[in-house]
C-alpha cells in the first residue's frame, strides 16, 4: 500500500540537522503552553494539533475563543488565515502525481501540508523516483506531524516552568526560521521576486485590511512575480 522504503526516507529527511522540524517543534511548544493557559485539557490539546496541524489556525482559534467568538466566526477566521494552504497544496501535488497511485493517498496526505513539511518536500523531491514520491511525502508528513504533537504535549506540561521571556523567545523562532529558509530558496528571478514582493506587500496591505493582508498581498505579489519570471526567464 505504502512503500516502506520511501516512507522511511521521508521520515529521515525530516530529521536532518537543519530541518524545519526544529522551528516546528519550538512553535508547537508555545502552542501547547497557550492551550493549557486557555483551559484546554491535555487530550483536547493533542486533539487540536492532531486534527488541525497548522499553527496560525490554532492561534486564531485560541484568540477567537478568548474574545468569545461564535463557531461561525471561528470557522471564517481560521479559513481565512489558513487559505494559504490552498496554493501551497496546488504547488506540490503535481510533483507527487503518478497514475499507479490511488487517489485516497493524495486526499488524505494533503492534511500534512504545512510550511515545514512543504519546505522539506520542495528541497528533496527531485532525488526521489516519481512513482514513490507520494510515499516519501507521507513519510515527511507523518514525521513533522508527530513532532508537532509531541511538542504540544511538552509545551502543555512545561507551561508552568516557562516564564514570559521564554515564551516570547519561542515565538520568534518560527518566523525567523522561515524567513531565513525563504531567503535560502531565492535562486530564480521568479522566486526571488515572489518572496521579496510578498514580504513587502503583506505588511503594506495590513494598513488596508489586517485580515486580508496576507492573502491579497500574496495574490498581488505572486501574480506580478509570475509575469516578471516569465519575461526575464528563470
Amino acid at each position: 500500500m505504502i512503500n516502506s522504503k520511501y516512507f522511511l526516507q521521508g521520515i529521515l529527511a525530516s530529521k536532518k540537522f537543519d530541518s524545519p522540524a526544529i522551528a516546528l517543534g519550538a512553535s508547537f511548544v508555545a502552542i501547547g503552553a497557550l492551550l493549557k493557559n486557555l483551559g484546554f485539557t491535555i487530550q483536547e490539546s493533542i486533539f487540536s494539533t492532531l486534527l488541525t496541524y497548522a499553527l496560525p489556525g490554532s492561534l486564531v482559534m485560541a484568540e477567537s475563543m478568548l474574545i468569545g467568538a461564535s463557531l461561525v466566526n471561528i470557522f471564517l477566521a481560521v479559513w481565512l488565515v489558513n487559505s494559504r494552504l490552498y496554493p501551497m497544496t496546488v504547488s506540490i501535488m503535481p510533483l507527487l502525481k503518478h497514475e499507479s497511485q490511488p487517489k485516497w493517498k493524495y486526499y488524505l496526505s494533503c492534511h500534512f501540508v504545512a510550511v515545514s513539511s512543504w519546505l522539506i518536500l520542495k528541497s528533496n523531491y527531485e532525488e526521489i523516483e516519481r512513482k514513490y514520491r507520494i510515499d516519501f511525502w507521507i513519510g515527511i508528513g507523518t514525521a513533522t506531524w508527530l513532532v508537532a504533537i509531541a511538542s504540544t504535549i511538552i509545551g502543555y506540561y512545561a507551561s508552568d516552568f516557562l516564564n514570559r521571556d521564554m515564551i516570547i523567545a519561542l515565538a520568534i523562532i518560527n518566523p525567523i526560521y522561515f524567513m531565513c529558509a525563504m531567503i535560502g530558496v531565492m535562486k530564480t528571478v521568479q522566486l526571488t521576486s515572489a518572496i521579496l514582493l510578498g514580504a513587502l506587500l503583506g505588511p503594506i496591505f495590513y494598513f488596508v485590511s489586517p485580515e486580508w493582508s496576507v492573502l491579497i498581498g500574496g495574490l498581488v505579489a505572486g501574480t506580478i512575480s509570475y509575469f516578471i519570471g516569465e519575461k526575464y526567464g528563470n
Binding site: L38, L59, M65, N82, V90, Y106, P175, G217
Partner: protein
C-alpha cells in the same frame, strides 16, 4: 469560554482541511510543467513571505509585547548570521531566541 472546546477544535480543523482538500482537487488537472502551475508556485511563495513578514512586523499574541526596534534588530542580526554561517538555518534561529530574550530583559 462558553463554547464547547471540542466543537471549536472540529470547526478549526474543518476550516483548515477545506483549503488542503481544494488544493488537492485543483491539482488533479494541473501538470507541473504548465504555466498555471508556475503561477500557483509564485502564489504559494509570496503568500508565505507575506505571512512571515506580517508576523514579524505586525505580530499578534506574545511577540506584540516586544518593542518594535528590538524586533528589527533581531531580524537584521538573524539575516546577518544566516549569511555569515554560509546559509545555515539553525544558528540564526537559535540565536534569534537568545538575542531576543537577552535584549528584552535589558530593556524591560
Amino acid at each position: 469560554m462558553a463554547i464547547n472546546i471540542v466543537l471549536a477544535i472540529l470547526v478549526t480543523s474543518l476550516a483548515t482541511y477545506l483549503s488542503r482538500f481544494l488544493g488537492a482537487f485543483t491539482a488533479e488537472k494541473i501538470s507541473e510543467k504548465s504555466k498555471i502551475y508556475r503561477w500557483f508556485n509564485c502564489l504559494a511563495y509570496s503568500t508565505l513571505a507575506a505571512l512571515i513578514s506580517r508576523i514579524l512586523i505586525f505580530p499578534s499574541g506574545d511577540l506584540s509585547e516586544v518593542n518594535y526596534n528590538l524586533r528589527i534588530i533581531v531580524i537584521l542580526l538573524s539575516i546577518l548570521i544566516f549569511y555569515v554561517t554560509k546559509r545555515n538555518l539553525v544558528y540564526p534561529t537559535v540565536l534569534s531566541a537568545i538575542i531576543l530574550a537577552a535584549l528584552n530583559s535589558f530593556v524591560v
